[in-house]
């Protein structure tokens, strides 16, 4: 006997005890597909026959079944399932999970069961139990269809059972092996002329029979609602049926098509909503055509899953949970969308915005709700652009993800409400679940990055309390590790270690950029507020932002932010950047000076007070010691156990003088990075990466390119934008290395922060793994404000040299991978939640406790 079951199904074994259900299930299904009640009884009670725990065992069994079906795994319920109440649970689960239910009944003669039962000492039920089982079974069989099983197979003998062949058939909606390319066409509604124009515009031509086909083998995919309201309904139906029959098109049904089917099936339908015209035209065509249409619509499947599951088409859309499943709920969703059953003020059905919640990987193309423009949200596209209402007919080209439209020749039907502009509220609100909890983020540089729950909890707080509008946050900069601790006397950091690092990673050329002592500032600028709206979904009229490394607005005063952005725009316009890069937005990584602009709080609460207290106290101490030094002292022997030991005033004086000197140098160091800012003119901004523009993330370019391009397009026009000094060093060439070291010494001897050493190419790899995108070598004097004014005193330096960089470096890599991924996703027009996930990850790692001085 041939048993056909859908590739994804919920199968119930039905049969008396000892009828061989388990043997059958294990023979024809994967061991993991079979959930046996005996197994779950044993799991909780150690006894598979303990009927007293059945209820708990079934709880567990159905819990597991539900999880499996949630993942679209075929599941077999191996239990007697003799009572209607037991089977009801199967049917309910099948409905809940929108999966087809299958009943396989083992209907062996009672005598056979009695014989088997007697032979099994482990079971050996009383005879009356067996008889009851068998009579229950016999009575059940005829009810199975009514109970709701979609497929029912009854096996009446052991011979039948032994000769079964199980065939798993594909679901109707499964067209994963069709890869297109497709031209997906929205609601036609009888607009035949526009359809022909659109097909021709898309490159389709007619064959000898007048059937459209595409010379490159593209396929048209119709999203339903072919008829009603428009002028030439039967022409459209014929065109689509011809194309489908010829294998040049596929089509899913729309609600109007289903209504038409109802009519063709002889049911009564109201002659409204433009249906009257379709029916009139159909009747004129004659019965053969009518029957063709009836069959055509009747064979349509609610939705199609195409291209390895990457593309889904459905008339009114489909939510992630229903994709690839089959049930009347799936069908209704695909036909009508996520309707509440309520009506709004204008009498239209209230629709929930399922696309706002859509987080699936598959691209969903749908129509049904006409709008003025294609609406893209979270990888879903509504392409009903209201042709019949005087809008246009649109095709979505896949995999190109472009749209092609033809304007309506006229308005054929009065829209019930004017076609909505789509951008008033695109509903791309982030939700908890997009971020939060333990997260796994896939990036192109590091395949999977795990974010721990405590870190994401910290990031949620920072994001919520401080960060700017997430639409703007398309990147957060990674932390940067210092070079390895120097072995040279009197240095904590030295560029030789940075050169050595890259040499060990097989990198020959590095770029050494002067490290500006300012604050990191990411600048995003759009040419116009309109392009900000279009590209970033920012609707408050702003056209750019300057934000800190934690995603917070750099300036508390938005007026200042605006002034800086306006000046940047002038620079980029004047230098021809917008034109040369063919873009209407740009994201720059910059350093903004002075440091005191952002760090004033730190300066007045930490750095300056330490300088003040230290200088005053040490001056007073030195003075006291100098005075004391003039008094002749006794040197009497004291026992080493006495609490007050002798000491030498001159020695202590030396020590405190040295400390006093260290404090002076410390104050000089921080003063270097402070100046008073009266207005924007007092700022200095040094861009160092052109991160991204409209179609590009520039992580594949060399840092020399970044430096030179910035010099060319951003500097020498407005004095607040400055270039960054850099030199290239060949780390295999000693004289080149010497030049690098000398440059560092020049930069740092007068208090400069130091330099950043980067591999020539932005994202460089060693043994196929990414390496540090940059390491910093900070100046000797500068480090006083990091490690304390007195860090260079030899006793202190010796201790400070013991530091570990492992954790810092691992964070630097992960944050770098996430930052780049965020940019790439943004440039690929991925939904907000996909971009946000990455920057959220960067913030999460920033909460990881790591020595802040590194």
């Amino acid at each position: 006997m041939r048993i056909e079951i859908p590739e994804f199904a919920l199968v119930a074994m039905i049969g008396a005890t000892s009828s061989g259900k388990t043997t059958f299930a294990n023979k024809y299904f994967l061991p993991t597909e079979v959930l046996s009640s005996d197994f779950f009884r044993a799991m909780i009670s150690d006894d598979e026959n303990d009927q007293s725990v059945s209820s708990e065992a079934f709880d567990l069994l159905y819990y597991a079944a539900n999880k499996r079906l949630g993942l679209m795994k075929t599941t077999v319920i191996d239990a007697t399932n003799l009572q209607e109440s037991a089977r009801k649970q199967v049917i309910e689960l099948a409905h809940e999970q929108n999966v087809h239910s299958v009943a396989i009944v083992l209907n062996l003669p009672e005598s056979e069961i009695l014989k088997r039962n007697a032979a099994n000492p482990k079971k050996n039920y009383p005879e009356r139990v067996i008889r009851k089982h068998c009579s229950d079974l016999r009575r059940s069989i005829k009810h199975l269809k009514r109970e709701g099983f979609r497929f029912i197979y009854v096996l009446d003998s052991q011979e039948d059972i032994d000769n079964v062949e199980i065939v798993r058939t594909g679901l109707w909606n499964n067209r994963k092996d069709e890869h297109g390319p497709f031209d997906i066409i929205g609601d036609v509604h009888g607009c035949y002329d526009e359809l022909v124009m659109l097909l021709e515009k898309s490159g389709y031509i007619r064959n000898e029979q007048g059937v459209f086909f595409h010379p490159d083998g593209r396929k048209a995919a119709f999203l339903g609602d072919l008829c009603d309201r428009g002028p030439k309904n039967t022409d459209v139906l014929r065109l689509v049926m011809d194309m489908t029959d010829a294998g040049n098109a596929i089509a899913v049904p729309g609600n109007h098509d289903i209504k038409l089917l109802k009519y063709l099936n002889g049911k009564k339908v109201q002659l409204t909503h433009g249906r009257e015209k379709t029916i009139e035209q159909l009747e004129a065509e004659g019965s053969e055509f009518k029957e063709r249409v009836r069959k055509f619509i009747d064979n349509m499947v609610s939705h199609y899953v195409l291209d390895d599951g990457k593309l889904v088409i459905a008339h009114a859309g489909i939510n992630e949970k229903l994709i690839g499943r089959g049930s009347s709920r799936v069908r209704n969703f695909c036909l009508y969308g996520d309707i509440t059953g309520e009506k709004d003020e204008s009498g239209l059905p209230v629709r929930l915005n399922w696309a706002a919640d859509y987080r699936g990987k598959a691209t969903v193309i749908y129509g049904h709700v006409p709008r003025a423009e294609v609406q893209a949200l979270n990888n879903t596209y509504c392409i009903d652009t209201g042709c019949v209402f005087g809008g246009k007919l649109t095709a979505f080209r896949y995999p190109e993800r472009e749209t092609v439209s033809v304007s309506a020749l006229k308005q054929y039907y009065e829209p019930p409400v004017p076609l909505k502009e789509n951008n008033e509220d695109i509903g791309d609100m982030l939700m908890l679940g997009d971020v939060g909890g333990k997260m796994y983020i896939n990036t192109s540089l590091i395949p999977t990055i795990a974010v721990e729950e405590n870190n994401s909890a910290a990031a949620l707080e920072v994001m919520s309390r401080y960060a700017a509008d997430p639409h703007w946050l398309i990147y957060l900069p990674p932390t940067m590790s210092p070079c390895k601790t120097s072995g040279l006397d009197g240095y904590l950091e030295h560029p030789l270690e940075a050169f050595e690092y890259y040499r060990s990673m097989g990198i020959q050329n590095v770029v050494c950029e002067k490290k500006h002592m300012g604050s990191r500032a990411v600048m995003v600028l759009c040419k116009t507020a309109e392009s900000a709206k279009k590209n970033f979904g920012v609707t408050d009229g702003s056209r750019g932002i300057i934000y800190t490394r934690t995603g917070r607005h750099f300036f508390n005063d938005y007026g200042v932010e605006e002034q800086v952005l306006v000046r940047l725009d002038k620079v980029l316009t004047k230098s021809g950047f917008w034109n040369d890069f063919e873009t209407d937005w740009v994201c720059l990584d910059t350093e903004l000076m002075p440091w005191s602009e952002k760090a004033q709080e730190l300066l007045s609460h930490q750095y300056a007070p330490v300088g003040r207290a230290g200088r005053n106290a040490l001056s007073a101490a030195v003075e006291a010691l100098e005075t004391a030094n003039m008094i002749t002292v006794e040197t009497s022997e004291v026992s080493p156990h006495t609490s007050g030991q002798n000491f030498s005033i001159p020695e202590l004086l030396d020590r405190f003088s040295e400390r006093k000197d260290a404090l002076e140098k410390y104050v000089d160091a921080y003063r270097e990075y402070c100046w008073k800012v009266n207005d924007v003119n007092d700022l200095k901004i040094a861009p160092f990466h052109i991160l991204a523009t409209k179609n590009n993330v520039f992580s594949d370019r060399s840092h020399t390119w970044h430096m030179e391009t910035i010099k060319k397009y951003c500097t020498d026009i407005d004095p607040i934008f400055i270039a960054t000094d850099y030199i290239c060093v060949d780390v295999f060439d000693q004289s080149s290395i010497d030049r690098g070291v000398n440059r560092w010494l020049e930069l740092t001897s007068s208090g400069g922060e130091g330099m950043v050493v980067k591999p020539e190419i932005f994202t460089s790899k060693h043994n196929n793994e990414i390496i540090q995108p940059a390491v910093k070598c900070r100046g000797r004097e500068y480090l006083r404000i990091i490690y304390g004014p007195e860090y260079l005193m030899s006793e202190n330096l010796k201790r400070l040299k013991r530091r570990s960089l492992t954790r810092k470096r691992s964070l630097a890599l992960k944050e770098f991978a996430l930052g780049m991924e965020a940019l790439e996703r943004f440039v690929r027009h991925e939904p907000l939640y996909r971009v946000h996930e990455c920057v959220f990850g960067v913030l999460a790692f920033e909460s990881e406790p790591v020595d802040p001085r590194l």
Partner: protein
């Protein structure tokens, strides 16, 4: 870092006996956190000065002691090595312990006699107003003088530093001077380098013997001494014999009050009034399920929990640490099942729509909105009024106009450093109406706290009701 003690008058070299430190033998002492040196900068018949100099290693502070496994508590860039702080107090107690006790075998009579003494405390951090130094030392019989210094002379616009060099002169016994310094240096600085345990109460009683209880600024001294540990301060005040100043409410100093500054005997904290008003609004709305978003330490939640009308309450905050404190406050882990089932605590954000926000009769958003950047408010509106859609939303926020009644606030200053904005009554009203219009709610705005005729009340509350 440096303290000097000078004795003036006759035979001042006796200071050596009184301090138990030979003027001609400089001495060095090992302390837990570094070294202390005692030496004299002046020795003569009519004037002798002893110096106590601390050498604290900043790296020890940041990393813990060399060889020890404990991590440090301080930043590398830290004023602690240079200032007079609790480190100085500890050094005094260690180096001058006998002198502090008032014992002096060789010159007991002198130790019992008030002498002409002068102490200079270098770089004393005064956290708070400078007048405090006078308020605290003058009643003890000292002539006080202070020298201030700017934060950085190169940047005069940064203003003054919080450090002073303090000189106190008076006729006191040596042990008195030392006990005063020991106790009062940390009172000025407020920070302590060690964990404040209950022993500290006894310590303060011991070193404050004979002067603290009669000090007019007693409560202020105690409060600052314990700083964050208010409960210790209260316990100590209860242990000290009553006097007229003790009835002053300890906690109210830094809190917002109803604003009626003259009415000293009956100040109900504004927060209490606010929570009462919110609680009443919740109960009046008929709500049975409530979510308190931005619950903080769950003060409102704990007021609603015992209400029979409330069947379940969810307390949400964006800050995990705050939730943990709330759990402790509520004794969450030891709650009986009924109450525990009634309460849910969770981390959540008002800027991410959240399924868990749905299905509540009422949502309370108390003193939260002003902590959110103004550009993010539209997101909050959507999360709250469009996705969570509770039947009732109760929202409070400060009334900016009322701030003129807070004397300590500068013009235009906000009530909390984390406030991103504060709304006038008009601004709040406009916002409320706009929300109602957009999301189909109606609103009633009311006042919480004393009503100032011209400027309204300190807090404004909007109760939003979903239109059916």
């Amino acid at each position: 870092m440096l303290l000097t003690i000078t004795m003036k008058g006759k035979n001042t070299q006796d200071l050596g006996y009184l301090l138990h430190k030979n003027p001609y033998r400089p001495q060095c002492f090992e302390l837990n956190f570094g070294k202390a040196y005692v030496f004299y900068t002046e020795i003569s018949d009519n004037r002798t000065t002893a110096a106590l100099l601390l050498d604290i290693n900043p790296i020890d502070l940041a990393r813990g002691k060399q060889g020890s496994r404990d991590g440090g508590l301080f930043d590398y860039v830290n004023d602690r090595p240079y200032v007079a702080s609790s480190f100085m107090s500890s050094a005094i107690a260690k180096v001058f312990s006998t002198a502090m006790s008032g014992k002096c075998t060789k010159r007991q009579e002198l130790a019992d006699t008030p002498l002409d003494l002068e102490a200079v405390v270098h770089m004393l951090p005064i956290r708070g107003e400078e007048s405090l130094v006078y308020e605290i030392f003058e009643p003890l019989g000292y002539e006080v003088s202070t020298e201030k210094s700017v934060l950085d002379e190169k940047f005069p616009e940064w203003g003054e530093s919080c450090y002073i060099d303090l000189t106190i002169k008076g006729r006191v016994r040596v042990c008195e001077l030392l006990n005063h310094l020991y106790t009062l240096i940390p009172v000025m600085d407020k920070q302590k380098h060690y964990y404040i345990s209950e022993d500290e109460i006894d310590k303060l009683i011991k070193h404050g013997e004979g002067w603290l209880n009669s000090h007019p600024a007693k409560n202020k001294i105690i409060r600052r001494y314990f700083d964050m540990r208010k409960s210790y301060a209260n316990r100590l005040i209860n242990r000290l014999p009553d006097d007229e100043s003790a009835s002053e409410e300890l906690m109210s100093e830094n809190e917002e009050t109803t604003g009626n500054a003259n009415d000293t005997n009956k100040k109900i904290p504004l927060n209490t009034l606010r929570l009462e008003a919110v609680k009443n609004a919740v109960l009046n709305s008929g709500a049975e399920s409530v979510i308190d978003i931005g619950c903080g330490e769950c003060k409102l939640t704990s007021m609603l929990l015992p209400e029979k009308q409330i069947k379940n309450i969810t307390a949400a905050d964006v800050c995990v640490r705050v939730l943990e404190r709330a759990k402790e406050r509520l004794n969450y882990d030891r709650m009986l099942p009924y109450r525990k089932n009634k309460l849910t605590l969770m981390q959540a954000s008002l800027l991410y729509r959240d399924k868990r926000f749905r299905g509540f009769d009422a949502a309370c958003v108390i003193e939260v909105i002003e902590h959110i950047d103004i550009q993010r408010i539209p997101a909050l509106e959507k999360v709250l009024f469009e996705y969570a859609v509770p039947h009732t939303v109760i929202l409070t926020t400060p009334n900016k106009e009322y701030n003129v009644n807070y004397a300590a606030m500068e013009n235009g200053e906000l009530r909390h450093t984390d406030h991103r904005f504060e709304w006038t009554r008009e601004e709040f009203k406009i916002w409320c109406e706009q929300v109602c219009e957009k999301f189909g709610y109606s609103v009633e705005i009311s006042n919480i706290g004393d009503v100032d005729e011209k400027y309204g009340s300190p807090t404004q509350m909007g109760v939003f009701t979903k239109c059916e």
